[in-house]
């Protein structure tokens, strides 16, 4: 099968490469681009471990064909740290012990980021809906929900201070 040349912006940097037309965005991010933070959990868009933000929306990268990402703006977990500082979501996850085995964490963080960008002050119910596509087997979600609520408050405050 003839390979396809695609270009996308990932975490602020441009990436160009040749991919199989039936490769998924997840495979390309982990393989050709070499960012291993995003995880494979099921391959059918049910667990959310592969969640990345594409053009501002949280998507299951295992369901996006790589050529579909041509020209897109992609954000993965590796892009959360800015100038050596952890994102408030990352800090909150650590603070609230929302990380046990850590496998769902990258996808969970990206879903949370996308949620807070769309809804900066979500209720607990809205947070749960926002992460309902991300499975976690370890934490029972309680600490994750608390962490997202705390991060929302922090982000909101800093936004107001600007």
């Amino acid at each position: 099968m003839a390979r396809v040349r695609i270009t996308f912006n990932i975490n602020g940097r441009e990436w160009t490469g040749e991919v199989d037309p039936n490769a998924t965005l997840l495979e390309v991010i982990k393989g050709e681009v070499g960012l291993t933070g995003t995880k494979y959990g099921c391959g059918i868009g049910e667990c959310g471990a592969c969640t990345v933000i594409m053009n501002g929306k949280a998507v299951n990268s295992c369901l996006v064909l790589a050529p579909q990402a041509d020209g897109a703006r992609i954000e993965t977990v590796e892009g959360l740290v800015r100038e050596g500082k952890l994102h408030p979501l990352q800090e909150a996850f650590i603070e609230h012990h929302a990380v046990q085995c850590g496998y769902c964490t990258p996808g969970m963080l990206m879903s949370a980021k996308a949620l807070l960008e769309e809804n900066p002050d979500p209720t607990e119910e809205e947070i749960r809906i926002g992460i309902s596509g991300n499975l976690c087997r370890c934490t029972g979600y309680e600490p994750i929900v608390k962490a997202i609520k705390a991060a929302a408050a922090k982000l909101d405050k800093s936004f107001q201070e600007e």
């Binding site: 982990k30 960012l35 291993t36 933070g37 995003t38 995880k39 494979y40 959990g41 099921c42 391959g43 059918i44 049910e46 667990c47 471990a49 993965t76 977990v77 590796e78 959360l80 740290v81 952890l86 990352q90 996850f93 650590i94 603070e95 609230h96 012990h97 990380v99 046990q100 085995c101 850590g102 496998y103 769902c104 964490t105 990258p106 963080l109 947070i127 749960r128 809906i129 992460i131 309902s132 596509g133 991300n134 499975l135 976690c136 087997r137 370890c138 934490t139 029972g140 979600y141 309680e142 600490p143 994750i144 929900v145």
Partner: protein
Amino acid sequence: MSVKRLDAVAKVTGRAKYAADLSFPHMAWIKVVRSPVPHALIKEIDWSEARAVGGVLGVFTGKDFPGKVAQEKERPVLAVNRVRYVGEGVAMVAAENEEIAREAARKIRVEYEALPAVLDPLEAMRPEAPQVHGESNIICHHVVRRGNIEEGFAQADIILERTYRTHRVQNAALELETAVAVPEGDNVVVYCPCKSPFNIRRLVADALALPLNRVIVRETTIGGSFGGKDYDMGVLAARAALVAMLLKRPARISLTREESTIEGTKRHPYVLTYKIGTKKDGTLCALKVHAVADGGAYVSKTPLVTWRSAVEATGPYRIPHVQVDVYGVFTNNVYSDALRGFGSPQVNFATELLMDELAEILGMDPLELRLKNALREGDTGPTGQVMRDVSLITCLNRVAEASGWEDKRKNYGREKGYKRKGIGLACSFRGSCLGAGGEGLDAAAAALLIHRDGTADLSCGIVEVGQGSRTAFARIASEILGLPVDRINVNAVDTSRVPDSGPTVASRGTVIGGNAVLKAAEQVRRAMAGVAAELLECSPEEVEFKEGRVGTRDGSRALSFEELAGECYRRGVSLYGFGWYKAPDVFWDREKGQGEAYFAYVYAASIAEVEVDLETGKVEVLRYYAAHDVGKALNKLEVEGQISGGAAMGIGYALLEDLGLAAGEIRNINYDRYLLPTALDTGTIIPLVVEEPCRFGPLGARGLGEPATQIVAPAIINAVCHAIGSRLYEIPASLEKVLSKVRGD
């Protein structure tokens, strides 16, 4: 003070490397061919077409292993001559990339001669049933006997007999199983997530006919275990190691979700018949238990799981006359293995549903019946053991108060309309660590090294499976040496660097590993205190280690931990501590079914509030309160996380998860059909941490991982029964099952 998890930063930044994130130059990719039939002889394997695919490096079968491809009646690395369950590995392909390997695997033709299969465990017990191995399908039979059962029933005013059924679920950890084997000189190094790196090393060494010191297992960051990534990982490691050794290249085997569901670790389904006798006032006199566990096609952990079930079958109650028989049985279903709870959830489920029904018959509040019969300090337990550090009643009272049990029990279930609320209670006890059941060495090693600048390296043979063991160990060392946790580096397990510390199971990590760390830290402290005493001109007993400083108790003279470490080095005083901790000896009389089964027990009580939709049968968990006695919370937020995580797993077990096994084949092989609880399914979880120190725990701590899961399902099902006014005896309580009860079918 809750210590932040040491590994958390790597995980939130995506820097943590799981086995599937590792890449080595010239890495070969492996795919496995699996049996589509439950029981058959392998007549022929034709790989000619597969070999011809460009990029294929080799095709291998069980016969290619130079050593032992399987222990007797144990799961082989690849089946030789015979397959015994659907999904059993029969051959494997190594290729330049995953796609080629998959394509080639599809081209392998296997000819099977079908044998009669037995799929029901009760049927498998009959002598005329098809035999899975040898002459009998009975793997094991454990008994507990106390008093005289006939006498016990004779004394009873009321006798109740019920049969319960639990089902097969999987660990479904988010991280799929991956093993990468890399040849390093004469050695083979295996990188994999694992619960028992030493077991994996042994399996690989046996299969490849290598001495133990030529197989090195290095623990990678693990994305959940819950009982998995043990023997199943060993099989994968052996497959990868063979390919690596034969091709002299790194070799990777990585399961897809579907493959993991088919091949991976499952919980034993049980059929349990309980017969209980009680006096009119609710005093229990007799309990007879007959339970059959479906062990599937290979022995695996069945003898150990069923032994634990036997010891805990009668629940945490005072019952003078007890007769327990638990059987483990072979069938041609996928093999059952360790899964969080390890035989406790199944019997806990039966006991607590039975107690609830009994309370109803007696006209007693379920809480009252528990309180009346609960074990107390100094009581003789069902196995004849004197029970110590018994905190059951504390847990029961704590959870009842926190949840507002009394009022809700009276008022729920009376709502008009199509939604009904219910509230249910369950309590449990669980033997700590491995016990007398014979899983093997219940000891662990830890090594602590203080460097010249006062920073530390800590190694323990217990792995981090996500439960926070590394943080707990750092906390223990920190407490003894007054050294801030961020100056302590806890290493991943490397089997060539630290002694065999057994598996990270049975919630023993904190207790056994923690105690080993404690000893290592104390050894270092003694050495440092000796030098400090000279410098501070006091006796070693007066030296205090606190917040990075070492000084006299009155605070008049002190120096920094770093300065002291430097001085120790100058004087040639060793700052290396080695701790070896062996669990207290326990014993078990197999025939009498009596003994000191476990050196300590963990107690818990929980209450679930649900809302049942009478038109759809859907059960919503509103709130779940769980009081767990952890002895001493080494890390409070982490403890709450374990309780919360255990609750979610229990909710899945009670309501959602089902492998859909039919004719030996699993139908629900991915998350679209195998349903895990999402953030919308768990309700509000309220963990209640009870701290009644256990005399054997490091700093008084008890284990928590498994108790947190086992009591959830009975609490929820009891709540459902309360809501609908009808009894369930099986899980999962799917929509169809609940609706059928509501309709009175």
